[in-house]
Amino acid sequence: MRSFNKEKHGALPSGQVEDALCAYYRAQRPAADEASERAVVAAVVEEVRNMRAERAVVDEARCLRAEMSPVRVARPTFSACVRAVSETASFVAAQARFMGARAWILQACAVAAVVLLWSVGEGHAASGLYACLAGAAIAVCGLPDMAASRMCGIVELERSCMHDARSVAAARMAVLACSNAVGLAAVALVGAFADSAAGAPVALLHAFAPYCITVAGCLAAARRIDGASALVAAAAWGVAVAAGAYFLAAKMPGVYDQAAVWVWAAAAAAAAVWAGCEARAWLADAAASPRMLSFDSSFINR
């Protein structure tokens, strides 16, 4: 006897499955003797029992999974995805609101200062140097907001909330990345205007490499050093990067020539990887490191 073709009949409700099976076996019936009828009925009963048992096992497994993690097992529907995205966006927007405009203002001041320098300096080296200075300054401007949770001792409270300290750190990174992207774009445009031979992409590269190096170094310093000294160390790192850029302009001005763009591209790529690693370590620390729980209360009561 051939088995019932499940694929042909598709997924049917349990009542209809029995009807379909009955019809199928009725059509297959060779003779109308009692013995063969009994055999057909027995086969149908067996098939239905097997299908029910199979379904029960599947349902039980689903229930068990749901019991263990009701939220995660639910299949993500389109509306659930939309809701998750809108919740995340609203949380990031809330962080941006609470962070205030300090980072934006500091960054605007840094870009304005570099624009002033551009108006007096001339040549590829000077132009490249100013882009480097702007990149380093933009990175340092965002650090107080990035380290605020830890400096102000609010990490412990944040970790105990639905949106934990890692979410807060990630949201702040996203907000600062947006503001820094605007700042770097402004630097690239001004650089292209000041040194039309080089163009915006080269100015962007000159700003981006020191930006990433500064971000990575500042995060590394702020992660390893406690209290207000972390900010001092991070600012010192920013100054060191700026000094390095000045040294290159003074001793090896050729580095800022268009021919050396690939060097900047390689440096930017390596620095971006370093910054990415530091950002990941920062998020991991925000989530679980006991070190992040200690803070100097005199910093907030000053």
Partner: protein, 314 residues
Amino acid sequence: MELSLENLTKRFAEKPAVHDVSATLRPGVYGLLGANGAGKTTLMRMVCDVLKPSAGRIAFDGADIARMGDEYRAMLGYLPQDFGYYPDFTAMDFMLYMAALKGLDRRAAKLRCAELLEEVGLAAHAKAKVRTFSGGMKQRLGIAQAVINDPAVLVLDEPTAGLDPKERVRFRNLISGFSQDKIVLLSTHIVSDVEYIADDILVMKAGRFVLRGRPDAVVSSVAGKVWECRVSARQADELSASACVCNVHYASDGGAVVRVAADEAPVAGAASVEPTLEDLYLYTFRDDAGAGAAGAAASEVRRDRKSGLFGGRR
């Protein structure tokens, strides 16, 4: 609703701060008592998912809180021992910030925050900067943020530390009001706070629970071990140095009434008296500070009296 601590251990550089602790908490107020370094804060941080246990697990209604993640934290309210805030935040900013972290809708959060600030007596200071607040006001703000999301589990780490008696009573009443149908875990050094509001007491020592039960049952474990005797001032000083002295009351006639927690009568003629939770605390932690903190304090008072700081002994 049930919160189970299952063989919970937390080590810092191989030194255990909490060691193999197990308990099951159901709705009610649990007072966590213990000396400094007993592991109370570490335990509370693990309950709040702030620190991950080195071994063991915490389960809420059978589900591991590490796996529940944000789902568990959404049901949690926490007031840390020493909490920070952003210096330029007003009380309302702080509340709204915490409401955003707890996933509350912005409009609903505004109403809830205003209502809670009113409840804790800070409505008039909603627009004042948090850094201008006194210790008591900060603690009241702390309890308000802890209950923004109407949590099922409320964890308060030394909430009454540094408060004057009036603020403490006010704070205790606030906690009692907020603790209906919740699991409230409250740690403190101030024994009377626990005595007044806790349904159950957990006593921690060296990272372990050494006593657990209803206040009267726990206190009865030292029944027959608390003594009062009338001795000379010199003998009172000697007792303070050698025994676990709970209290010394110097009389104007040169004598002193000394209350001692000890397995046997400290001097002939000492009478056994009804123990209190404070006696139990001092008896349990008598080894932690030599002859006991109270004894040392009594000696301190004695020295001060001798030097005439309080007018000397008459």
